[in-house]
Amino acid sequence: MRRSPSWRPVLAIVSLVALALSGCSETSEKSTPAAPPQGGFLRIGQVGTTGTLNPYAGGGFDIYANIFPFLIQFNLETVEIEPYFATRWTTSNDGRTWTFKTQPNARWSDGQPMTARDAAFTLNMTTRFKDGPTANYASYVNFLERAEALDDQTVVLHYDRPVGAVLPQAGWVRILPEHVWGPLAAGDGQGIKGFENLPSEGKPVVSGGPWMLTKYEKNEVTLFERNPHYFGPRPALDGFGVRYFADRDALVTALKVGDIDAIDGVPPSAAEGLKSAGFVVESTPGIDYHALDINPNPEKTRHKEILNPTVRRAFEHAIDRQQIAQVVFSGYASPGAANIPPANGFWHNPKVVPLPFSPDEANRLLDQLGFNRGPDGVRVANGEPMSYEVLLQPADNREFEILRSGFERIGVKLTPRPLDRAALSQAQRAPNGKYLEYDFALSRGGSGGFDPDFGLSTFTCEALGVINNSGYCNPAYDQLYNQQEAAPQSERVPIVHRMQEMLNEARARVVIVYVDQIDAWSKDWSGFQESPRGMFSTLSPKTLTSVHKVAK
């Protein structure tokens, strides 16, 4: 009954594949087949919303990564920076001028030439309006004065001071076609944000990445087709579609009954079930983590005892990370302490390790400080019971339970205060962005991408009230942050390692576990390249280019 409408497209695809296969005999399961069979249409499902098709209106980051090129990209295995639209680059001696050579003979999906001028245009437009319409890319064009296209394959970036992190910043701006966006950037640029950028019948969104967007239904579906003019390696698939679900049950059910072929973001509790149902389930260490924020603001009004580093060490000893990883994430998470996860490769500082779960050690430390237990078992510090409120999102209640029982063993009482996301960040900053009131908050963080720049920026003083939720502010840390931003790539690593040590000692954001990315797909498909953000991901345009149907 329900199956009959789906027979026809399947038939069409199968015949396409059969035709294509008539010349091929490769049946490799590995991700680098010699001559992958061409064709096929992959149906992906995920929980979430589509976002908009306008990078400046925001939200559709996964989409942009697949249809707009960047200057650089990251190697999925080594996390190193690789050429993408830019083929090579050089820096001037004073570090203020960067010259990029771009792909020759590149075209947009509508056939128009894609040149360095498009890159220059995009960067200039972003810079010009970064106080207004393009503000969400302001951090990408820090200190950029202007971009100049010398010819069709050369673009020069002029900075007002030496900047080392140009590649992960300007190199990561989604390059837009000047012939579409040019008119919008005229005047005061007010037309930029309101531009819907929708595909219409027969006219996909003008795209430059491996795919072009042919259909968009807000929060329902996005359909992509192979971009015939893409300058990079030709994807094996004819196209793919992403279907957006509101809840995880529907998502998993859809895969099981065959409504979709793959899931980006399997809920951990469903992973085993999918495996036994015969699907391929793979997990990759992720770049996101769950953490416990402990207010580090020395001006906070109450409970000043939690500012004491020894008390913080004791608190960390009360966190049973293993239990959380097992129960809350069904094992698809790993305990950790560094604010830049291991998935970031060489950026992660392996010397920063979590304190073991040891209520005994915690009790010893707190006893030494003289915080004796009261008649109800709760310790008293400076005349006040060690009883704290923990701000959390309702979805994290299971984690909270485990924390609560761990802290109970060391004589500390935790009470939950559930709030939704917006109210929670408001409450953490209370009052009025001064961070005076909160004690504990369950939070999420991460490196933000393959390059740790964004993740590190969430701990700077400048980010207070904006994206700095923990309230950590340390001039010495800020100094290091600026240093790593200005330093050339090779010199950044030791600075970034030192910053992680600093954050770990401060324990303003105590990492609990790094969360794995879990994807699943039917055995009919293979060639997926795993990335810490899943197959349909903001991190790389490469994840889907080798996917193909398994020849039978």
């Binding site: 049950d249 998993v252 809920p267 509790s269 469903a270 979805a395 299971r398 939704d420």
Partner: protein, 321 residues
Amino acid sequence: MSIVLADPDAPVAAGTDRPGRTGKRIIWERPSAVLGAAILFLFMVVALAGPWLQPYPVPQQVGPVYGPPSARHLLGLDDVGGDVVSLLIRGSRVSLLIGFAAMAVAMVVGTSVGVASGYFGGRTDAVLMRLTDYFLVIPYLPLMIVIAAIWGPSLDHIILVIGLLQWRWTARIVRAQVKSIRERVYVRRALALGAGHGRTVVRHVLPQLGPLLVSIGILSVANAIFAETALAFLGLSDPTAISWGGMIHNAFQRAAISSGAWWAVVPPGVCVTLVIAGCYLLGQSIEESLNPRLRVAHLSGRRFRIRPTVGDHPVPPVESQ
């Protein structure tokens, strides 16, 4: 889905001046009333005796995540390995507590507004009814969603929110009834003799409202429990409190159905349904006993009885059915 009495603006015939005796007899004769009361009684016992009844402590993990039903765990385990039977028993407390507490809030506010409105009439009535109208018009669940986002999800907030949005029904029903009572001969006489408003209300109006309030109250409980389940399901109730609504929410969030763990979803819903149905049966019986016309409709050819009615007072049935 939500329990609604008949037209709230129509006065319910008040039966005799002492509704107690005839009313009670009529109620207990009805099997549906008995059934409803039995269900409610059972759940209240379970809620009160909870900690001694539940086989396992909650929310502790006593087995694998989503363990299937077995001899030791009759209804299986939930998304963190807690015993479902114990969770149900423990959850009855919160669910019933919210039901009764929200009902209390709704009754107090609704009755006050309804009495004031119906008794004083005139401008007070007009103003209060306009107010109720606004509240009736605003879609209740979206409003609850927003309010829960303002105040944060906690049990107290949920009780207040549910209660404050339930009073509109109570107010209108009470008002209609108070209006009709106020016109009664004895009330007019009392006022003419110089009795104060307060005394009149307490001695003459409220007792007449008694049975009506009981029936509204019971139905309010049902509505409140439903609302709590809905709010918990949408993630707007206290996530660390164990309630039936919360159990359904956790199961939904943690992919219970697609994991095949139906036992995490079905039992809490069954409990909620039973309590709501019980409330309904009992409340409806009381309401029907107050409205004798409903009992009079025995018009099949075999059991034909004429029931004369005299003004407001129907003569008690010659033969009961």
